[in-house]
């Protein structure tokens, strides 16, 4: 093995890539990676510390044959990257406490609907981004998602998992593509109904693309969708974020 110590930058080559520039490229840019785009929020020092810690965790995971500590490390990194940006966001209206509707029947007798902002759709429905775009293009055009009006997809209770697709452009969809239950737990709820933990899974379940036009969502779509769920006669709604 050769140790290329003399591998000095070639002055005629491209500009050296800084750690910060690399992290920025993960955020809906040339190296778009929705699993690690949160690295963009770190200071240079925090970024270096995270990468160093990540490498240590990867080494331990290889040696120990367990990825739990690695998963927790990345989860905690995501929290550290996102929480401060939300608390200091310039526009944070204070919402009054929500209404509270008590359960009117025991859970084991209740019909529960799933409602996800994870942009789930069936293979015979349209995805949530324009048909002329590939998914990768839609990820890079993430800012346009907030201009699109909310649209809803109905997912019948008996839909086979293999017919479900994921079109969200702002989170890493690879886990959901491996197992849709990480974000739209249709199979888990069918099992819970069979085990009589819940009375039934609703015949109609729903998804929309959570990154959307928020004023339209609040003023028009959400009240309409609520009325729809009332018309469906469900007893409770289980909401899962995208």
């Amino acid at each position: 093995m050769v140790d290329h110590q003399a591998n000095a930058p070639d002055s005629s080559g491209p500009e050296p890539l800084s750690l910060k520039a690399f992290a920025a490229s993960l955020y809906h840019a040339e190296r778009a990676d929705n699993a690690f785009k949160f690295l963009k929020n770190f200071s240079e020092e925090d970024l270096a510390n995270f990468v160093q810690g990540l490498l240590r965790q990867v080494g331990d995971a290889i040696d120990d044959g367990s990825t739990e500590a690695l998963a927790r490390f990345v989860e905690q990194g995501q929290v550290a990257a996102y929480v401060p940006t939300q608390i200091t966001a310039p526009f944070r209206p204070d919402f009054p406490d929500a209404s509270f509707s008590p359960m009117r029947k025991p859970l084991r007798e209740a019909t529960v609907a799933l409602f996800s902002s994870g942009a789930i759709y069936r293979d015979d429905q349209d995805p949530y981004y324009p048909a002329e775009l590939t998914y990768e293009q839609a990820v890079r055009d993430v800012h346009k998602a907030t201009e699109r009006f909310p649209s809803l997809r109905v997912i019948p209770a008996e839909t086979p998992e293999e017919r479900l697709c994921v079109g969200h452009v702002a989170y890493d969809i690879r886990a959901a593509q491996k197992d849709i239950n990480v974000i739209f737990p249709l199979t888990r709820f069918r099992e819970l109904a069979q085990d009589e933990v819940i009375g039934a899974l609703a015949e109609r379940n729903y998804s929309y693309h959570g990154l959307t036009n928020i004023p339209r969502l609040m003023q028009e779509s959400a009240p309409q969708w609520a009325q729809m769920l009332k018309d469906d006669g469900v007893d409770a709604v289980f909401l899962i974020p995208g």
């Binding site: 929705n34 699993a35 737990p185």
Partner: protein, 91 residues
């Protein structure tokens, strides 16, 4: 994390709801104050746990469903560590 907006509208029409949020977006849940929220430690895109970890997913779902029956006011928020199964009521 816009499900909080939808949950508020659904509760307002008389249907009980429970939302799952991830820890990274806890401030959003604290801001939107949906009636019942379960906060999990997971990554975006995997709020209920990791792929093919059926027991982990079920633990999160069962913890959220319990909130439907046990919460008596809005907003009620619980934090569930699905790695250790520790539960903490935070509001």
């Amino acid at each position: 994390m816009t499900v909080g907006h939808v949950a508020r509208a659904i509760e307002a029409i008389g249907i009980p709801t429970v939302c799952v949020y991830i820890e990274a977006f806890r401030p959003d849940a604290e801001l939107l104050k949906p009636a019942r929220t379960l906060v999990t430690p997971h990554l975006m895109g995997r709020p209920l746990g990791l792929p093919h970890r059926r027991e982990q997913q079920l633990a999160v779902i069962r913890a959220a469903l319990r909130l439907l029956e046990t919460a008596d006011h809005a907003p009620t928020m619980e934090t569930f560590d699905s790695w250790t199964h520790q539960m903490k009521r935070t509001s």
